[in-house]
């Protein structure tokens, strides 16, 4: 079975580290991007199974990334420090599948990813 690929888009190196370690331990292949532009560029070349997207990014922000994702994009989970309902609602309306508020426990993240991937499979 080929490992599932996850693209982590976040400008905070320690968040990327945290998510990468947690997911790699679960057997996922982890790709990372430090900005919105970075992420969109990577997506042109690669096709991850799921995208983890931060909303506050240097340059174009998470919402802009959501807007520019292709029609048949992989499912997106937003990881945000925004606790307000406004951001969550907006992100969900723009097509993200899950909205996880920081801080979160790695298990919580893994559970959501698995649920989405299994539901899809």
């Amino acid at each position: 079975m080929t490992p599932k690929t996850v693209l982590v888009v976040d400008d905070e190196p320690d968040i990327v580290l945290t998510v990468r370690l947690a997911l790699e331990l679960e057997g996922y292949r982890v790709l990372t991007a430090g900005s919105g532009e970075d992420a969109l560029e990577r997506l042109e070349r690669e096709r991850p199974d799921i995208i983890l997207l931060d909303l506050r990014l240097p340059g174009i922000d998470g919402f802009a990334v959501l807007e520019r994702l292709a029609q048949n994009t992989p499912p997106v989970i937003v990881l945000s420090a925004h606790a307000s309902g406004g951001a969550m609602q907006r992100a969900l309306e723009m097509g993200c599948r899950e909205f996880i508020t920081k801080p979160f426990h790695p298990e919580q993240l893994v559970d959501k990813i698995e649920a989405i991937l299994q539901g899809r499979g």
């Binding site: 945290t18 370690l21 240097p58 420090a81 606790a83 979160f104």
Partner: protein, 694 residues
């Protein structure tokens, strides 16, 4: 001798005796001492005249007649003087002198043995005696006439006419006496004239003591005319006491009374003229002949108008009483009128007070009739900025409402007038004359008046309150945003700490050595960042609320700058130049100044280029410290909010987003300032202005 003179003499005698009888009878009836004195004086004159008639008839043998007539004459003068004294007292010395002279002349007359003939031949001494007596008589009687004439001057016309008449009679007598005494028998024509004049004086004196009705009315006529002319002024005065005063005054004038007072139905003395309180009480209690009481029937009950007659008051007959009663009924009407006016006045006063109270309110009160202003208090007028006249001239107050609200207000008004269920309280804006908006809160009620429906609105200016509410909301929003931002900042390091700690705890054995190290380093960074963030938040909130404790003192700028550079050495690719030429001593908290410079210098290291320059100089206002770099500078879009909390350059991931906000507030707490200036062609300059210590 002229025979025509003789019947005249007997007529004179009879006339004076009759006058005397009338006076004495009246004096007896009225117990009037003055009048009885006058009566006795006229009696002596009457006897004198009668003797003059009998003289020639009885021939000259009754030699006693000469001195006796002269004695009668002398004493008649003294009696007339006493009459005057009983009305208007003489000085005691004058009175004593008068009596003395009269008494002294009496024996002289007897001794002189005057001949009594129709045409006596008098010796020089005898003539002198006769002339002295005539002169004395003239002084007594003429003086009395003069006194009466003068006394009449300031009295009611009724009394005046009487006194003048009396005075004229006395003067007539003096003329008669002097002429008679100085006339010899051959001047019979002159003597006849004198006797006729004397006869003419008798009716004059008679009416002055017992005036007939027609004459009393004639005397009164002048007062009636004045009263008629002044009746509105005097009787319809709006004040009850002055109505009473006028009533007393005019009643006295009408009948020639000396004093008077007016008592209300409750027994209060409303007015008293020429009487003090004790007099009034005395007259109220005593049933005196000299007092006339006229009942006053008016709304409150029966009061009375009381008049006190005086010695010069003419006869007081039923005509006078009737006249006074008629006058009394007018006074009663006037009293009723005043009471009504007073009652209305009280009502009016209450209304005025109410209006005044409404005027003084802080809230505007407005009464409108179909939109047009009927009443507005000062507060409303002030609220609009217009004058009351300008507001009154508006076809409708609706013109002051905001255009966007007019339709709604009109509709609400229509509903209200139609009896619909409309909320009495609402908020609306109004356009101030100066053009700005005034926020108001109105309470509206309809009132039914005789002239139709009026709308009463109580309007409160809530502009200030709204502004406060807006400010509070803004402040609240700022606080919420701050808390939300602060929470956001805390979430990032927390996420790393929670995640990395969980990974280490659960799967440490599965991790490679370098990943374990990465985890531990990540935890360390997260914890440090969390600590930094919490410290910054505390600093910021303390600065923001003015609770940060500062230790302000004179500080050497160069020393602090060196200390900062030692603790924060430049990265390898950055060159720092420090240009602090002088030993600037500034007023600051050294720890906090260190914090400011550390923050700005590390920013320059992080965001700048390869060169950082620290430069200080003095200007008129203080010491300027510039921290310049040759980096890209702060993006245009960020400049305005650069010093706001949680605003940071996109590349800045390490800070809490509070650094510059804190730096600015710290500098302000020292009395200084931090500003940003772009550097051409590229670069950033942060300028710290500090107060010199001296």
């Amino acid at each position: 001798m002229d025979t025509a003179a003789h019947p005249l003499e007997i007529a004179l005698g009879i006339a004076f005796l009759l006058l005397s009888a009338v006076c004495l009878a009246k004096a007896h009836r009225q117990d009037d001492r003055a009048l009885s004195l006058a009566g006795w004086a006229f009696a002596t004159i009457g006897v004198l005249m009668t003797l003059t008639f009998f003289g020639p008839v009885t021939d000259y043998r009754y030699s006693f007649l000469g001195p006796f007539s002269l004695l009668l004459f002398l004493w008649s003068g003294y009696l007339l003087l006493l009459f005057r004294h009983s009305l208007l007292p003489l000085g005691p010395s004058f009175r004593a002198a008068a009596l003395g002279v009269t008494l002294a002349l009496t024996p002289l007359i007897v001794v002189a043995d005057l001949p009594y003939t129709d045409d006596p031949r008098l010796s020089g001494v005898q003539f002198a005696l006769v002339m002295a007596i005539a002169l004395l008589w003239s002084i007594f009687v003429g003086g009395t006439a003069r006194t009466f004439w003068r006394e009449a001057r300031d009295r009611p016309s009724v009394q005046r006419a009487r006194l003048r008449m009396l005075s004229t009679g006395f003067i007539g007598l003096v003329v008669v006496a002097l002429t008679w005494a100085g006339t010899s028998g051959d001047q019979s024509t002159l003597l006849l004239g004198v006797k006729l004049l004397a006869l003419g004086m008798v009716p004059l004196l008679y009416v002055s003591f017992a005036a007939p009705l027609w004459l009393r009315r004639a005397w009164r006529d002048k007062e009636e005319t004045s009263l008629f002319a002044a009746r509105d002024l005097v009787l319809f005065h709006p004040e009850i006491r002055s109505v009473a005063e006028h009533a007393v005054h005019w009643a006295q004038r009408l009948v020639g009374a000396d004093a008077g007072f007016l008592i209300s139905a409750q027994g209060d003395v409303l007015a008293a003229d020429r009487l003090d309180a004790a007099d009034v009480d005395r007259f109220r209690l005593e049933d005196s002949r000299s007092v006339i009481e006229v009942p006053l029937e008016y709304g409150e009950g029966t009061g009375s108008l009381v008049l006190v007659t005086g010695p010069f008051t003419p006869l007081f007959g039923s005509d006078e009483v009737e006249r006074l009663e008629a006058f009394g009924s007018i006074v009663a009407v006037a009293l009723d009128r005043v009471r009504l006016i007073m009652a209305l006045g009280h009502e009016n006063e209450r209304y005025e007070r109410l209006l005044q109270a409404v005027s003084d309110l802080d809230e505007g009160v407005v009464v409108t009739d179909q939109g047009r202003l009927v009443y507005a208090n000062d507060a409303y007028v002030r609220m609009t900025g217009y004058t009351l006249d300008e507001l009154m001239a508006l076809p409708s107050l609706l013109e002051l409402s905001l255009p966007e609200e007019r339709e709604q207000i009109t509709e609400r008004l229509r509903l209200r007038l139609a009896g619909g269920d409309v909320e009495d309280h609402y908020e609306a804006g109004l356009m101030h004359k100066a053009g700005h908006r005034v926020d108001t809160e109105s309470a509206v009620k309809l009132i039914q008046t005789d002239e139709g429906v009026r709308i009463v609105s109580v309007i409160r200016d809530v502009t200030e309150r709204k502004r406060h509410e807006r400010q509070l909301r803004e402040l609240d929003a700022t606080k919420s945003e701050f808390i939300s931002n602060a929470a956001h900042e805390l979430r990032t390091p927390l996420t790393a700490i929670v995640g990395l700690a969980a990974t280490l705890a659960d799967s440490r054995d599965l991790l490679e050595e370098k990943d374990v190290n990465a985890c531990i380093e990540g935890l360390d960074r997260g914890a440090k960042r969390l600590a930094l963030l919490v410290n910054r938040l505390l600093d910021f909130t303390q600065l923001d609320t003015g609770r940060l404790q500062l230790d302000l003192q004179a500080v050497s700028l160069a020393e602090i700058a060196e200390q900062v550079l030692e603790a924060n050495p430049a990265p390898e690719d950055v060159e720092v130049r420090i240009e602090i030429s002088d030993n600037f001593i500034v007023w600051a908290d050294p720890v906090r100044l260190d914090q400011i410079l550390t923050n700005l210098i590390s920013n320059a290291y992080r965001h700048g280029g390869h060169e950082v320059r620290i430069h200080a100089e003095r200007d008129d206002d203080g010491v300027l410290v510039d921290i310049d770099d040759d980096g890209p500078g702060v993006p245009e879009a960020l400049i305005d909010s650069l010093f706001h909390p949680f605003v940071r350059g996109s590349a800045d991931q390490q800070g809490a987003g509070l650094g510059l906000a804190i730096v600015r507030r710290l500098a302000e707490a020292f009395g200084g300032r931090v500003t940003y200036h772009p550097v051409r062609p590229h670069g950033a300059r942060f300028r710290v202005r500090l107060r010199p210590a001296a």
